[in-house]
């Protein structure tokens, strides 16, 4: 089971009614199939369009970057500008907010976090669903009353066990209950995955050459659409190594500065460029990725990006006992060290 959509709607309605928030970022039904889509609610009347189902994949913390850049819903009145933005956050999403708070990218009072506990639920994996159902046309996906999912196809509703179609990120989730929040809808749960890094077992068991072949094949597919970075709540940098143009240009930026912007990566989607981009991105997310797996979901060519990020999450935990996105007040992974950090790899 999971939180009730009515309660979420009621909360959103209340916030908008009271004018406590600028707007609320939540989910609506997508127009193109059974999946939910991000939605921006500005009036209490719209709250009934909000949905909560196992297709609420999106990590809505992503949109806080647009908010900070003032690239969204330009505040109409000064007064409005000071109000927080309401965001519906799952456990994983709340960890993203925790990292954004840790990095002071977002002020705590600039957001009103409407936490939703996933309880024993989570989001589904589209691929697993497709494999499970074949060509049947899916119309609706809901949480089952006592766990699992109910998927309605053109042939009627069927019950599917959670294990069959639950996304890997949820299988290995350590924060089904939001870690930071202003309100939480749903029960407090303390879900402990049996194997928090189980999805890495297979690749880690491969020989180095096999791993290389795996990644060469997978990253070779990359078309560099940058959806992985665009959808990532942590990829909020104005300027990225992948961009060859200097974005942060002001009247003071000299021609030399623009001319010297390093071309770390060419736009050519070939092997070394793709590797460089993905390696840098993985490093950049080390200690920051909270495993919302949005990059992998967004990827149109199905690169298992999660296996890169998850690896570093695991190493951060095992080498440095560092947990990402649980406490906004601790120093970040790479801006701290412990005296006992391992150095057996150093000669």
């Amino acid at each position: 089971m999971t939180a009730s959509v009515e309660e979420i709607r009621a909360e959103v309605k209340k916030l908008l009614d009271e004018g406590a928030v600028k707007y609320v970022i939540g989910y609506r039904n997508g127009s193109a199939g059974p999946f939910a889509a991000p939605a921006f609610f500005t009036g209490a009347g719209e709250a009934d369009e909000l949905v909560w189902d196992p297709t609420c994949f999106h990590n809505l913390a992503r949109f806080l970057a647009d908010e900070r850049r003032e690239d969204v819903c330009a505040p109409e009145a000064e007064e409005d500008g000071k109000k927080p933005v309401g965001v519906v956050v799952k456990g994983c999403d709340s960890r993203a907010v925790a990292v954004l708070l840790q990095e002071k990218f977002v002020d705590r009072d600039a957001v009103y976090l409407i936490g939703v506990s996933c309880e024993d639920g989570g989001v589904i994996d589209e691929g697993k669903l497709a494999r499970k159902l074949g060509t049947a046309k899916v119309e609706k996906i809901e949480f089952g009353v006592d766990g699992g999912f109910v998927v309605t196809t053109d042939e009627g509703p069927i019950k599917i066990e959670s294990a069959d179609i639950l996304d890997d990120r949820c299988v290995e989730c350590r924060a089904a209950y939001p870690v930071v929040h202003d309100v939480v809808i749903g029960e407090q749960v303390d879900r402990k995955p049996e194997e928090p890094y189980g999805s890495l077992d297979e690749i880690e068991s491969l020989a180095p050459e096999e791993r290389w072949e795996f990644w060469e094949r997978e990253l070779g597919k990359c078309i560099r659409c940058y959806a992985c970075r665009s959808i990532c709540p942590m990829c909020y940098c104005d300027e990225c190594v992948a961009d060859t143009i200097a974005f942060a240009v002001t009247a003071d930026t000299t021609a030399d500065e623009k001319a010297q912007k390093i071309k770390w990566v060419e736009r050519s989607p070939d092997n070394s460029e793709n590797f460089f981009y993905h390696l840098v991105r993985a490093m950049h997310l080390a200690g920051r990725c909270i495993d919302c797996n949005e990059c992998e979901r967004a990827c149109p060519v199905d690169i298992p990006l999660r296996l890169l990020n998850k690896k570093l999450e695991k190493e951060a935990k095992e080498l440095f006992d560092y947990d990402v996105g649980f406490d906004p007040d601790v120093p970040s992974l790479i801006s701290s060290f412990r005296d006992e950090d391992p150095e057996d790899f150093i000669r």
Partner: protein, 274 residues
């Protein structure tokens, strides 16, 4: 050589003149083609210059087609390619492809008075048409030049301008007072208003920073110019120069093909996307 328009012709820089120094440096380059390549163009057209290893940049041709010895480009140091150009010395070889874009309809202007109004590096596209008009002096009526920059040190072609001032009305301006400056102080549009060129049988060609163009046009309208009498050029980021790469469009217009020259009558119909 192939007729593949993407392949630049090699050209040697034979002369470099440092017009403006400092952070917004401007240099004027004269180039001649190697390998017997030829290039015919019309006033207002542009060429894509290559610095190999750095890339390409679309630059207006400043010399007149009447000059056959060289092509001239006045370039402000701006980004990767223009900075590399500014680092070059005479004898260096660059790539040139083009010409691209449309041109000023100078044939239609025959018999008319021409007023050239430009600011800063905006003189580059105007200089070509201006020189061409001078070269065909008999075809046109009065020729007036209004030109301004932020400071006297930012004036491009200052020497040439001062020589020309002996032959025709040249109205220079700088934005703020400077010791020793005897001419107009203020913005270019104010200078236009001050000099009151007559709209009668006249064509105004203006180029400069967008904000200047906006106010020059207002000033000209005040003076009674019709939209059809005012011409300007537009710049947008370009990569191919031939209407394919998809980025320089203003609405359905591709500046590289359909521009850069527009009469104000044409341009005001287009969406504000430049």
């Amino acid at each position: 050589m192939s007729d593949n328009t993407y392949i630049p012709k090699l050209a040697e820089i034979i002369d470099i003149n440092e017009e403006v120094g400092g952070a917004r440096a401007v240099k004027t380059f004269k180039t001649v083609f190697l390998n017997g390549d030829r290039f015919s163009f019309l006033p207002g057209q542009c060429a894509m210059l290559s610095v190999f290893g750095k890339g390409e940049s679309m630059i207006s041709i400043s010399s007149s087609p009447l000059v056959e010895d060289y092509l001239q480009f006045s370039i402000m140091k701006m980004g990767r390619v223009t900075s590399a150009l500014h680092e070059m010395e005479t004898g260096a070889v660059i790539g040139v492809r083009g010409p691209y874009g449309n041109n000023f309809p100078m044939d239609e202007w025959k018999g008319k008075n021409l007023i050239f109004i430009s600011g800063g590096i905006g003189i580059a596209p105007v200089w070509c048409v201006f020189q061409t008009a001078l070269g065909n002096r008999g075809d046109y009526g009065d020729i007036t030049f209004v030109y301004g920059a932020r400071t006297s040190a930012d004036l491009v072609y200052r020497e040439e301008m001062e020589k020309l001032a002996k032959e025709l009305p040249v109205h220079l301006s700088i934005d703020v007072e400077e010791p020793g400056w005897a001419e107009f102080v203020g913005f270019v549009p104010q200078n236009v208003t001050d000099k009151k060129p007559s709209p009668k049988d006249a064509i105004a060609v203006t180029c400069g920073p967008p904000i200047m163009i906006k106010f020059v046009i207002e000033a000209l309208k005040e003076l009674g110019f019709e939209d059809e009498q005012i011409y300007t050029t537009v710049e947008n980021k370009m990569k191919c120069g031939i209407g394919k790469c998809g980025r320089c469009n203003i609405g359905g217009h591709y500046v590289c093909n359909d521009g850069p020259v527009y009469s104000w009558a044409e341009l005001k119909k287009l969406p504000q996307e430049y």
